[in-house]
């Protein structure tokens, strides 16, 4: 990729009146801005929930078991609604596999957590100085917000992925622990909105010299964040972050785990118009005690995700939502000396569910030991292109890093047409691309 730098474009850009750090070039070149704002494609869904199984989810011990082989290990398998067996520890999902599209042929070249998670979140491998925007930031930038007050992009769990060169406006609002909600939004008891606004006036007056003097982007970004914070604090929407407004029963259905609570919060956020929610379930890095740990994680995942799907259906949100379950790599079919499995990017699994998805479909196949892909390998780029198209983004549209380097959402991936339900919209995408 580095070798394909367009030198003439780069030098042209450098010679022209400086270049602004961190701002997109569309700010300087109106023609680019016009192109950027075009979202000519009709979206198939309005919301995305991305479930990040951090650590490398073992494919054999979840969605791609190899019963009766040496690599299967301790788990038994159970039947599912789509005909293919999965791990015995995912019984609730098994019942609704007819709503889910399963990809057993994901493949990648990134075998370290850092690089793998980076690729999972941005569709690019780490490239030194560039910080690529995460998928949620793409959605935030290229779709219109449904709710003007809430951020378009919320991330749940400890999460370090950034909006990169799209700037802090498309950064996710991070909720570290769903049961604690959004901290520090309540005013102290003796303070009302009017008084608070008086204090803000004082603040802005005293800080006016500094703000006038320094027009650096990192300063103005903070100015904007202060304004947004105030809008949220005094809105009705701020209640969306409090999962304790739901009944005990509902919380229990999700499993009362951090992940389960996160799924519940994701549902609430979608209800209120948030476009993209990223939720992390970590702990899949099972170099040791693989079976014990995967069993526990599977229970958490099984309860949370199945209930999320059912609730979204109940609330009539399912048709407009896409759920993606991804991980950075799979794990070795060979069990190591510590009763664990090690990193295995060559083959792994992921899931998709939601309104535009053809439920019950199984894409790709690994061989009898789960070590290699024998049918329809799908890369992260393919997955991104497919997701992008669902959301109404143009996966081939170029955006520019501060140094003038072009990047596309697709990163040369191809749409996976088998994912989609056969509707008119889906068909038209397949024909166009």
């Amino acid at each position: 990729m580095d070798s394909h730098i367009n030198f003439s474009r780069r030098s042209f850009l450098k010679i022209s009146l400086g270049y602004t750090l961190g701002a997109s070039l569309s700010m300087q070149f109106p023609i680019l801005k016009a192109k950027e704002n075009q979202s000519s494609k009709k979206p198939l869904i309005d919301h995305i929930i991305y479930l990040n199984m951090a650590g490398g989810m073992s494919h054999i011990d979840t969605f791609d078991p190899k019963p009766d082989t040496a690599v299967q290990g301790k788990f038994n398998t159970i039947d599912t609604a789509n005909g293919k067996k999965i791990s015995e520890h995912l019984p609730k999902l098994a019942k609704i596999m007819d709503r889910i599209a399963l990809i057993n042929s994901m493949t990648s070249r990134e075998g370290s957590h850092e690089r793998g998670q980076y690729l999972l979140h941005t569709n690019y491998p780490p490239l030194g100085t560039i910080i690529h925007p995460t998928l949620g930031s793409w959605v935030s930038k290229f779709t219109k917000p449904i709710n003007e007050i809430l951020p378009s992009f919320v991330s749940i769990g400890r999460n370090k992925f950034s909006s990169g060169y799209f700037g802090s406006n498309h950064e996710s609002l991070n909720i570290v622990k769903p049961e604690l909600g959004l901290a520090n939004v309540k005013l102290p008891k003796n303070l009302d909105q009017k008084k608070f606004e008086d204090k803000m006036s004082l603040l802005n007056e005293l800080d006016s010299d500094f703000q006038k003097k320094y027009s650096n982007l990192n300063v103005t970004a903070y100015n904007e964040f202060y304004q947004r914070a105030l809008k949220i604090m005094f809105s009705e929407d701020v209640k969306v972050f409090d999962i304790h407004q739901e009944s005990e029963e509902i919380k229990k259905n999700y499993g009362n785990t951090d992940f389960g609570n996160g799924c519940l919060l994701a549902r609430r956020l979608i209800e209120r118009g948030v476009r993209y929610v990223d939720l992390t379930l970590g702990g899949w890095d099972t170099h040791e005690n693989n079976f014990e740990r995967v069993e526990e994680l599977s229970k958490t995942l099984d309860t949370g995700l199945s209930n999320l799907i059912l609730e979204l259906e109940k609330k009539n949100l399912y048709q407009k939502t896409l759920i993606v379950l991804g991980t950075e790599f799979g794990r070795t079919p060979q069990i190591n000396g510590r009763n664990g499995r090690d990193h295995y990017p060559k083959a792994f699994s992921c899931l998709l569910a939601g309104g535009c998805i053809k439920g019950g479909t199984i894409i790709g196949k690994t061989n009898e030991t789960g070590e290699s892909i024998i049918e329809n390998p799908i890369t992260m780029a393919d997955l991104y292109t497919t997701i992008g198209v669902s959301a109404g983004l143009d996966p081939e549209k170029e955006t520019y890093s501060p140094a003038g380097r072009p990047f596309k959402l697709s990163n040369n991936g191809k749409i996976v047409p088998e994912i989609f339900k056969q509707t008119n919209n889906a068909t038209s995408y397949q024909n166009e691309n």
Binding site: S168, L173, N216, F225
Partner: protein, 607 residues
Amino acid sequence: MIFENPRGFMGLKFKFVILIISLLCASSTLVCQDKNLNQSHQNIDQVLLKNTKSESFIGISDEVFLRRTYLNIGNRIPTFEEIKTFEQDNSQTKRSNLIKRLLDSEDYNEAMYHFWADMLRLDSNIKGVYGAKYQKWVKSAIAENKPYDKIVYELLTASGKIYQNGAVGYYLKDEGNILETASTTSQVFLGTQIGCAQCHDHAFEDWTQKQFYEFASYLGKVSIKDENLRKEMRKEFKKEEDLTPQERNLLRKVIEATSFEVTDIGKKELKYPSDYKYKNAKPNEIVKPHVFFGTQPLLQNDDQRRVTFAKWLTSKENPYFTKIIANRLWKRVMGQGIFEPLDDFNSNTHITHPQVLEYLEILLKDLDYDIKRFLTILYNTQYYQRLSFSSDSMSDPTIQERPLQRMKAEQVWNSLLTLTRKDINEYFAVENVGKLEELLISIQKNGLTEENKNLLSLHLSNSDKEKNSKKGLVVKQKQKLNESLSGRASDIVSPAPDQHFLNLFGQSDRQIIEEGNQDPNLPQVFALLNSQLTTNFILKNSYIKRQVNMILERADKIKYLYQVILTRKPTEKELNTSIKYLEKNSKEGIEDIIWALVNSREFIFIQ
């Protein structure tokens, strides 16, 4: 010879000519001539000014210098007393004196700790309990100003159990995965990401997978577990019958932790992976150690691989070793590296000031990697003391203005703490970790005595309540929060507790090398506006609040607050605005002003 009286007698041009000649001929003579290295900082300025039309850099006022330097060296803003001390120094060497005071202070040790912790991914949870020993080792090394090459050497060659030698944390961090350790070693100390070639030939650079394996094989005999001890302990463990399942689980972890010992095992070998696909070696073949640049070190004794490797890596002859640390320290002081990123030196890397970099390398070698003396030189340059950018346009490639940066998470936290109490050193976070560690050592030495079993149960009852303590760090949630309010950034567990200021303001989690950031986000803003720390600890119960209450005149109150929060005097306009506000809001006006100043952009940005 040349540098005896630089200012009075010599023109700029003449100095340059001499300088260039010296650099071209025998660069080391430059440094040797300058026995006290008193002129080194001027030399750096000269070379930098060479490409510009100016005679000097546009400098900053004393007020700005004071705040910037306290933050840069000490990781916090200065107190009222410290401001007075600086103001009252009327000597020519006022600024130099401050630099020296700060470099000799505890605050410097705290600040440098984070420099290392970010590089080494030093968190509190290495294998459950022992992060503390590794942290202590690093803190001692900083406190005694151990030379950089020695620190690296000792980390690379560390052996033993962690409570014997904290430095073995370096190997425990990657849990014995020496490919990972080799990769991070190369990235952090050689600035070279050969780790990309772990799974296949590097995509863009010339490094091959074979070269990576050959490099890693210097660490190929490292083992992190004492297998015999583990077997023995398990045997003992099986004998105990009256343990609950929870006790058994914790004991299992105990055995795991105490059997960690970093040693070199003669029989152990690194082999090429079973799916190795290139023709230059065979799958499962034993890898022979080989470095991928520079002179091959002579491997006399195969058991001394790590020693040989460490000597090669930390040698003055190693073309990358010095360059990388010189640039890291330069960035720390100046705000930007001479090349960036700091740890990905490759064929596309652009070096903005090659002569300066060369000079820095010579300097550092001549100083035998004395970090404090090197930093002293950098801080005393005019370049360090130049004005900050006030916008983002860079039309001049020879950047004259310093980038305006937000405080790092640790600087924000420590600065806020400075406002809440008289002396930031007053309270330290309690180290619960120590007790469990003692218990483990005792179990290892004496077995499962009654006393040990009781202590074990005690820790178990704590860990039941604490859901987050999966790795055995036994601290209750509430306790954690209170502790975390009382300690400086380097005393707080890492990663910082959820929603702690350090976390919100972008401190590195220390799981990935140096991934701290200074980006804005909504939770930070909410925290500054409404958190307990702000509304309670800073506004109501703080040291500065008590101090300002003792001041009688309104104008003097305002002046005091501007000093302690923004390190400067208020302008006429600001004074008037504030006094008017106080007249309208006599009850909580002072608190509101403190709140406004702490929430200002000026507070969190470093001019």
